[in-house]
């Protein structure tokens, strides 16, 4: 009839009291932090889970007689606590810390020790062997084995940190219920007539008595905010929207019509003179001095513009000193100005002397908008006056319908007024080294441009026609026109194409070699890996040498590929210049309208830059073939050819050259470039009755519920599954 009390302190001492008198104290061995502690009367032992993550059972007898000298405890503390004298009865390593231990013996079930670990739930036999265990997919907080309903099984309540209380029969989940709080302790109580009340305690000291109800408190999905339905309004809105959608899909281009008054206006002003002090940085041009020109860009805002940013781009090999500007939000009627310089960076002449600046911003409603403007750079940026040279490989002659103008008038920035003879002959020296000469006929209305390289003719020819047009415009002479009568220099042009194509082939070869070497490298790596992983590594047999050799080869190949890439870029710039020249000559030759010139440009200059996947040759070939088959076709027989779908790099350029020649022939014979769909020659691609059936209704669903195995939502409530006794 006596009460014996055992108290565990934070330092690992078990103090035993008989009623109110202190019996003895004992330090547990290997103690660090207190674990759960319980007493098993069947075996007369204390069971705890130590910091070594094992369940340990100590016989009362062993504890009591561990040492015969309690009084020596003060001095021999260290010895005692090191545990030499307290022998453990049995140990089970469960590999985790435990929250609670209970010993149960109900009538129908054998006596067991229940341990609630942080991640598993164990049931042990008296001798410390696992009877069963269950992996928990939540963080438990408390538990109690409370009775045995079915013979041989034990029912347990387990509370967790998701505010759930689960009822298990051994390891089968029998019931799950939601609590309003996280329980830190749970018991089953019999209160007078009320049997089996679940008593839970929260960490803020609230005690709750509850029972397992049969009313499922189901999860109620919150209502979606929905308006009262007004069908008339809806219908009107729907009609309006349908109309907008119809409009939007009818007009081919997605951009809205240009508004009269724009929210933001960008203007770019190119200074008439080159910079006194060149701003060029890191230029690869080998000239003595690389000039630069200042561009002043002004942004004027009429509305509030949020997060405006300005991007300035010029086509390589030209470059700008700074190409990105970010501003603070612009107030209405405010403006921002930035100044930057343009210079020649790459070591080849550019194919166009134009730049573009673009402002992107959000208006106050958050809709992103763009404003842009173009600017033209002076010719002086890439070439300077030089001595004219008489002889040249390539010559072209431009006819006009007006008497020749003195170069003193139209090229004042290149002519030294003191020298008379420059009135009808002018030399241009490009920064990259090559020379071009411009001659004006004294008697006829002709200009001749000559150079050793075909591509160098372009910029000068362009500049000449532009300046002539401007000059006559100033004089209010409207019927000025240039023409070109001579044959188109296709042969020279083809040489440039071949050069470009050859470099592309090289690039492909390099890529193949690189991938070959990379495969080899990985194969060696794999072999090395297997060797190194072996416990007793086999000799390397020069695999390391092979690895290093392959590595060097890969690097060398990559370097060569990079160099080739630079060459491809140069060749492409030259090709672009020459193509521009071709377009201009063809349009002057056939006196094409602006619409037709636009088609021509789209055909010949489809890409800003070419890539290994999609290059200039195949794109242009496809475009020309299309034109030859549609508006330039001679017979309906030609139209029947199917369009090739995939663009891939051709084996050689003969087909392209043939097509270009054919194209020029057809134009000479009066072909008209047009893309309009109502053209009678447009091929009907639809076969009669060909597409009336959907071949396969391959509509499918994605039904995917993401989440991991461990997610039982915290706000979830589980419906009942079976009534509980």
């Amino acid at each position: 009839g006596r009460d014996l009390i055992c108290i565990q302190s934070m330092d690992g001492m078990l103090m035993l009291f008989e009623q109110e008198s202190y019996a003895f104290g004992r330090f547990l061995p290997g103690f660090l932090l207190p674990g759960p502690l319980t007493y098993s009367s069947r075996t007369d032992s204390f069971i705890t889970v130590s910091s070594c993550r094992q369940v340990e059972s100590y016989k009362y007898q062993v504890l009591a007689f561990a040492t015969d000298a309690d009084e020596r405890q003060e001095t021999e503390q260290q010895k005692l606590s090191s545990g030499k004298r307290v022998a453990v009865d049995w140990v089970l390593n469960i590999g985790e810390q435990a929250l609670d231990i209970r010993v149960v013996s109900f009538n129908q079930a054998v006596s067991s020790v229940f341990v609630l670990g942080e991640r598993n739930f164990f049931c042990l036999k008296d001798n410390g062997q696992i009877r069963f265990m269950k992996k928990l997919d939540y963080s438990p907080s408390c538990f109690i084995p409370y009775c045995s309903v079915k013979e041989g099984t034990i029912n347990t309540l387990v509370g967790n940190h998701s505010k759930m209380l689960n009822v298990y029969q051994d390891i089968t989940l029998k019931w799950a219920t939601q609590l309003p709080h996280i329980p830190v302790s749970v018991k089953v109580a019999n209160l007078q007539d009320l049997k089996g009340v679940i008593v839970t305690l929260t960490d803020d000291g609230h005690l709750q008595c509850s029972y397992l109800g049969t009313d499922p408190s189901l999860f109620q999905a919150p209502r979606v905010d929905s308006r009262e339905i007004n069908y008339e309004e809806f219908e009107a809105e729907m009609k309006e929207l349908q109309k907008i959608i119809k409009e939007a899909t009818k007009t081919q281009d997605i951009l809205p019509k240009s508004e009269k008054h724009r929210d933001i206006i960008v203007t770019a002003e190119v200074s008439p003179d080159l910079d006194a002090e060149s701003q060029a940085i890191d230029s690869e041009v080998k000239a003595e001095a690389v000039p630069s020109v200042t561009v002043k860009i002004t942004i004027q805002s009429r509305v509030t513009a949020q997060k405006p940013s300005l991007a300035v781009c010029v086509q390589a090999p030209l470059a700008v000193t700074c190409d990105q500007f970010v501003f603070d939000d612009l107030e209405p009627d405010s403006s921002e100005t930035v100044v930057l310089s343009v210079f020649l960076k790459g070591n080849c002449s550019p194919s166009e002397l134009e730049g573009n600046c673009m402002v992107s911003y959000n208006i106050s409603t958050g809709i992103p908008k763009v404003a842009q403007c173009n600017f033209r750079l002076p010719l002086r940026l890439v070439c300077s006056p030089a001595q004219p040279s008489k002889a040249a490989n390539h010559k072209i002659t431009i006819d006009t319908n007006k008497p020749p103008i003195s170069f003193l008038t139209i090229f004042p920035d290149f002519v030294d007024p003191s020298e008379d003879d420059q009135a009808n002959v002018l030399g241009f020296q490009f920064l990259t080294g090559s020379k071009t000469t411009l001659l004006a006929s004294k008697t006829s209305q002709r200009y001749r441009i000559q150079s050793d390289q075909l591509e160098d003719l372009w910029l000068i020819t362009k500049e000449l026609t532009l300046r002539l047009e401007e000059h006559f415009k100033r004089q209010n002479c409207k019927d000025f026109a240039c023409t070109f009568s001579g044959s188109i220099p296709l042969q020279e042009y083809f040489e440039l194409i071949d050069r470009h194509f050859e470099l592309r082939l090289n690039a492909e070869k390099f890529q193949e070699l690189l991938s070959e070497r990379a495969v080899q490298f990985r194969a060696i790596e794999r072999r090395l890996l297997t060797r190194f992983k072996d416990k007793t590594p086999a000799p390397l047999q020069h695999l390391d040498t092979l690895l290093e050799g392959t590595f060097r080869e890969v690097i060398a190949l990559a370097d060569a590929a990079e160099e080739n890439q630079a060459n491809v870029f140069q060749a492409f710039t030259k090709l672009k210049s020459a193509t521009h020249l071709m377009i201009m000559l063809i349009s002057l030759w056939q006196k094409l309208s602006t619409d037709q010139v636009a088609v021509l440009e789209a055909t010949f200059l489809p890409l800003a830059e070419d890539t290994p996947e999609l290059g200039w040759e195949e794109t242009v070939d496809a475009a020309i073939s299309y034109l030859l088959r549609t508006c330039l076709s001679k017979s309906s027989k030609e139209q029947a050819l199917t369009l090739s779908s995939q663009l891939c790099m051709p084996k050689d350029t003969s087909r392209l050259k043939k097509n270009i020649t054919l194209f020029c022939d057809r134009l000479a014979k009066g072909g008209r470039l047009s893309l309009s769909t109502d053209s009678a020659t447009q091929q009907a691609t639809v076969m009669p009755g060909g597409c009336t059936t959907i071949p396969e209704s391959d509509l499918e669903e994605r039904t995917v519920i993401p989440g991991s195995t461990a997610t039982v939502p915290s706000h979830g409530q589980i419906a009942k599954q079976k009534s509980k006794p």
Binding site: L4, I7, G12, G30, F219, K533, P695, E701, G716
Partner: protein, 532 residues
């Protein structure tokens, strides 16, 4: 013997204020790890003489060590993710797989060739497949997204969309994201400076070593140091502690040394049967592409731990990955018998019913999930589809409305619009369908299925060129789908381009060898060619 009443718990008793270490310990039990760690830090900052508990206890180092250990545990628990759930293969692991025994596995023994098993799985015509050729599952797990490309080049070029198999650059990718703790910079520097730690010293103190190991492994994500510590500790325990063997195995697994990991796990199981160890070992077998061994292991595990949910679920997952859907469903049902709140099992059974033409049954399962409190876009998406196929049209649109309302990102919105487009096709409102598919692409312009369906609609309108372009986009985005190839073949055949039709049909047959229509088309084309 005399009756003894038990009184567990701790004696604090310094006035009203609880003793600080006891307070920290209590915080830890209530999973208030931040407070626990802060309090422990305060305790550790005190000069040793003031560390009250430590002074009297002499518990092998006292309260200082106890606070230190408690803090490591608290920090670990903050970032703890069950290692069993973590699985992601990087390109390097897939391509430099030196564990493969044979290039071509025998049918039914490998996860690499899902088509080889004939377990009565549904055909791709009924149930969509992932890039690796497996049927789409009802539950997204890390491993369901892994694909096995055959060459390095293909691995690199695999479309990088979130919804298809995506290779990540290396194993560290995902681990880095999950164990983020090591990247959160602590203003005072890391709690434990691993480089200055004398691992040998700690390995000899089992009571500290285990918590320290978990800290290094989970919190610091430093597998190498963790392995060193574990190796020293297991030696100190004279190779008698199964727990250390499991930890070494975990480290080996992360380092990609699967055979070594297998040895450790097996040795650990010899000493002590544990559910976790079985799961780890099975994970190793799966990584070694030995699903049959893993299945046997799970079944042996079930003999020892009958009714263990994680083991049954593991079996179900393997069957599902091996395309043996009927067996997978059986095991998922067994899972529900043990634990009827198992979200994964409910979702998988639901989607299985859905794809086997039983939308009403699927609806019940999804409703069950809804009752349990799963409340997200995907669930309503699925509910909407089930309602539609079960002819409960009144609920269809409101379910999709909710799904749209709950969508957390553009990919989810795209899914909902795609399914709405699907419903629109079903009720014959092609205009609405067209707009829905357009909206899908607005939200996610990698959506190959939407491109394909738009193409079908364009074909109906007679816009051959648009349809062709859309189909080409679809097939380049998702080469594993047979539909775009097949549609392209049909389209080309209709306009008389037999050569291209044949090529596309071949691709379609490659993606779905059993597709009868493709085979017939190929036969037809061959006859044509023969006639020419």
């Amino acid at each position: 013997g005399p009756s003894r009443s038990r009184c567990g718990g701790a004696a604090g008793g310094m006035g009203l204020e609880p003793e600080p270490l006891f307070q920290a310990w209590s915080y830890f039990r209530r999973r208030k790890f931040r407070q626990c760690a802060d309090l422990c830090s305060q305790l550790l900052e005190r000069p040793p003489s003031e560390q009250v508990v430590g002074a009297g206890a002499g518990g092998g180092g006292g309260g200082g060590l106890a606070a230190w250990s408690l803090k490591t545990r608290a920090l670990t628990e903050m970032v703890y993710v069950d290692e069993i759930d973590m699985d992601q293969e990087g390109i390097a692991e897939i391509m430099l797989d030196e564990n493969a025994i044979a290039q071509v596995a025998r049918p039914g023994t490998s996860l690499k060739l899902p088509g080889t098993s004939q377990g009565g799985g549904p055909s791709p015509a009924v149930r969509p497949v992932t890039q690796s050729g497996r049927p789409i599952t009802g539950f997204v797990r890390p491993s369901t997204q892994s694909g096995r490309p055959s060459t390095m080049e293909q691995a690199i070029r695999t479309p990088r969309t979130a919804l298809t198999a995506r290779p990540i650059t290396s194993a560290s990718g995902r681990y880095g994201r999950l164990g983020t703790a090591s990247m959160i910079t602590n203003p005072d520097g890391p709690f434990i400076n691993l480089s200055r730690l004398n691992l040998a010293k700690y390995a000899q103190k089992p009571k500290l070593a285990k918590a320290l190991f978990e800290y290094i492994f989970h919190h610091e994500n430093d597998v190498k140091n963790a392995l060193d510590l574990a190796a020293l500790a297991t030696e100190h325990a004279q190779f008698k502690d199964w727990w250390w063997k499991v930890q070494i195995g975990k480290c080996y697994y992360r380092l990609g040394l699967y055979r070594e990991a297998e040895k450790q796990f097996k040795s650990s199981l010899k000493q002590q049967d544990m559910v976790d160890t079985i799961l780890y070992l099975a994970k190793v077998y799966l990584r070694l592409d030995q699903p049959v061994t893993a299945l046997n292991l799970f079944k042996q595990g079930l003999d020892r731990f009958p009714g263990e949910v994680s083991l049954i679920c593991g079996i179900a997952r393997i069957y599902e990955e091996m395309n043996n859907i009927s067996s997978a469903a059986e095991y998922y049902k067994d899972v529900l018998k043990q634990d009827n709140t198992h979200v994964e099992a409910i979702a998988c059974i639901g989607s299985n019913h859905f794809y086997s033409d039983q939308p009403e049954l699927a609806l019940r399962f999804y409703r069950r999930l809804l009752q349990m409190g799963v409340y997200n876009c995907q669930l309503f998406n699925n509910l909407g589809l089930c309602c539609f196929y079960a002819q409960q049209y009144d609920m269809t649109l409101s379910s999709f409305e909710r799904a749209l309302f709950l969508a957390e990102n553009e990919e989810e919105t795209a899914d909902v619009w795609y399914n709405l487009g699907h419903v629109a096709v079903g009720i014959g409102d092609l205009n609405l369908a067209y707009q829905c598919f357009r909206l899908t692409l607005v939200n996610n312009n990698d959506y190959a299925e939407a491109y394909n369906n738009l193409a079908v609609l364009e074909m109906r309108k007679g816009h051959i060129e648009q349809a062709r372009a859309l189909l080409q986009t679809a097939s380049s985005l998702a080469p594993h789908m047979y539909e775009p190839h097949f549609n392209f073949a049909i389209l080309s055949e209709k306009v008389g381009d037999l050569q291209r039709s044949y090529t596309a049909a071949q691709k379609s047959a490659e993606a779905f060898p059993g597709h009868v229509d493709t085979q017939e088309l190929i036969k037809q084309l061959k006859q044509h060619f023969a006639m020419l």
